[in-house]
Point group: C2
């Protein structure tokens, strides 16, 4: 037994954190020298230490190349029509930005929305080298266009792209590109005549490298689309959840449940589809032998209950520290708002809690309400949890459409998103004049 | 607490196997009425019960539509040139077959190899709705073209596609389509003047449905390419493995480690890249608190040692029963050959074994050899395992290039693949005359 292998750190301790080390090295080699995400919790410990070791190009929104679509070619459908078909309706334009390991990021482009051309050997089609974000732009009741905390999405996308071995970038530049697309297509596709409406923005990065070996891609593409997305925050009778089966675990400690990578979604579809066929809206994903509640579908999950010991009202949600769940923008905003505005009335608790605790709270009459929270489902009241043959019915308020805390939190968020309340979280977009 | 939710089975037991139930229902709805995979272990308990409930179309290789490429446009590079670039070189043609939930599979097509057109909203680019297979076709020393046990790949692909919520198909038809591509491009791209060579075949299915909701895709595409792939079975000095870090688990019980889906690959690249930067070839993936040895990179892993209790020579590899590892065709073939041809000399053992058992065997001088086994790496001798600061050197035979059992098994397999031994596992392909 001798030490022979090359280029290795001698310390045994180094062997236990290969993934973290890999992240650090990727950041260094991509020369991200501006410390943009330093100390930001979305990066989950990714250090951006300011030491640039390479001259390959960063994403630079100021180099944007614009190819405009003919705006008369497509009409804007009404919301119901747009969401009724089998295809997502996107706006006139998309943003793309190509990357190679040799040269870094090319100049970003605005171009007419249309298909991507990928070789059949492209990495993304075989190895799930892909990550994405989801956020919305809102047409305010004051006539203005807004994004909601896009910096959080941009920072999270940096963490996701590095976790899945795709290229890093400066999140501030991604924010600018998102804003550019909204400024360009917002006036037509989210007109002032539709206050209280939104478009869904989907930035994604995919590995385009056409080589079949299992390896980190050396070519990638960032693209951003803006599209209609149906409202899902108020299903009739509330959202009904089915707890996850024993033969399906969504994410696990040491895995990648905290990153917004494709690999968290495809494998969950089978059980979700089966739950939907049985009349449920989403799966409540449990973790571990104790059945810790983690996420509801692709959303974060909150319970309001009276604490067993003190009887105080608590807003409870799973913690981020073991990296099982997504650090949701809506989740984070709810936690922050509730701590600020419900102080003294409601305790906000981020901790592990099990399905048995929920069942016990129900049987003791301590369950107050529950909701799912995320960009797609926004704040969606949960009316029922089905677990191993038992139904837990959850109070849905006096009118039967939402618990009162759920409704209050939702109103606060909407007021910020749609400009009824001027707030630092609402980023106003200057629109291009058509 | 009352029973209100719709269309639900009352039994609590049903709740624990949502994924299995989902598989059963998908098979039923896809009307796969021919029982093609019944009782086949690659389907991991997927029952094909012969009850067709639908009239949507199956893949039908007899409906193949052929659009030939101009064969004079591209020359066949030599193997070294073909494998030297950043892109995988494919042959003149590919096979594609489109599917929709409404109509089933369209007529398969042979067409010139070229890019795929996908909408930016395509499911595969966001949610990793993708699965694939890898197999090779071999130019035999007897001049014939052969596939090696393609039925196993086709059956496994059925299991993978259903696990990732993509459409099912009759594996026999997939086999025919693979054979068609080999028969068409084999004569030119794997000429008789290159006996002992191979091409790599890559069937894949992707979700093409252009809708951003997290849902099972209602449109999909099967495609098959044939390409060069470098030989990786004899790295100088043997393959060096680095055990997986504590911050990265490849697969987990209740997950999808047994299916050949993209979601198993992308997330593993980061740690693998870091290990390669430190001078190692692949990661030896450990599982659980005891550190069970599961896979080596994207290959199965075998150890030959003298048993602690009896002193007998054992060929040991991880078991399939907890669905952590891929049911490899090479793995299975090695197990079967060794049981048959090494009976009395070597015990073949499929069981859980830990890295500590390997370390102990090393320290007691009982470690005989080790190798990785899969289609890409074929049978690749392992010379070193690095674990938490310690190196375990593994004997590499008298000539230093391979242990003797490793070499023997490899020779047996090559003899079948390249027609030195006529064997039922070698499926001869009738070639099209150019």
């Amino acid at each position: 037994m001798t030490q022979t292998s090359a280029k290795r750190q001698p310390e045994g301790a180094q062997d236990a954190d290969l993934t973290s080390s890999g992240l650090e090295h990727k950041i260094a080699e991509q020369g991200m020298s501006n410390g943009h995400s330093k100390g930001h919790s979305f990066t989950n410990g990714v250090a951006t230490n300011g030491h640039s070791t390479s001259k390959i190009a960063e994403i630079d929104a100021s180099k944007l190349v614009v190819h405009l679509a003919d705006p008369t070619l497509r009409e804007v459908p009404d919301e119901a029509t747009a969401c009724s078909g089998l295809e997502t309706i996107c706006t006139d334009h998309m943003v793309t930005c190509a990357w190679t390991a040799a040269s870094g990021w090319a100049a970003p482009e605005v171009k007419p929305y249309g298909p991507l051309s990928l070789m059949p050997t492209a990495s993304v089609l075989h190895y799930a080298t892909e990550c994405f974000e989801g956020l919305k732009c809102y047409r305010g009741f004051d006539g203005k266009l807004r994004l909601f905390r896009p910096d959080l999405n941009a920072n999270r996308m940096l963490m996701s792209t590095l976790r899945i071995s795709l290229p890093g970038f400066n999140p501030k530049e991604l924010e600018k590109l998102i804003a550019t697309l909204v400024a360009l297509d917002g006036p037509k596709w989210l007109p002032r005549s539709r206050p209280g409406s939104y478009l869904y923005l989907r930035p994604a990065i995919i590995g385009t490298h056409p080589q079949l070996g299992v390896q980190a891609p050396r070519q990638a593409l960032l693209f951003i689309t803006a599209s209609f997305m149906p409202r899902m925050d108020a299903p009739v009778g509330g959202m009904k959840l089915h707890t996850s089966p024993e033969d399906m675990v969504r994410a696990w400690v040491g895995g990648f449940g905290y990153a917004k990578v494709g690999a968290n979604y495809g494998p969950s579809l089978l059980a979700t589809q089966e739950a939907k066929a049985r009349g449920f809206g989403q799966i409540l994903w449990l973790y571990g032998p104790q059945g810790e509640c983690t996420e509801a579908g692709a959303s974060n999950f909150f319970v309001v209950w009276k604490a067993k010991d003190t009887g105080k009202i608590q807003l409870v949600t799973a913690p981020l520290d073991d990296r099982l769940i997504l650090d949701g923008v809506t989740r984070r905003s709810i936690v922050e708002l509730a701590k600020d505005r419900l102080a003294g009335e409601v305790e906000v608790v981020e901790r592990k809690y099990t399905i048995d605790e929920v069942l016990e709270a129900d049987s003791e009459g301590r369950l107050v309400e529950a909701f799912a929270a995320g960009t797609a489902y926004f704040v969606c009241p949960v009316s029922l949890i089905h677990h191993r043959g038992k139904d837990v019915e959850i109070p849905m308020g006096k009118k039967g459409d939402s618990g009162e805390y759920t409704a209050q939190i939702k109103t606060w968020l909407m007021d910020i998103m749609y400009g009824r309340e001027q707030h630092k979280w609402g980023m106003v977009i200057d629109e291009d004049t058509p």
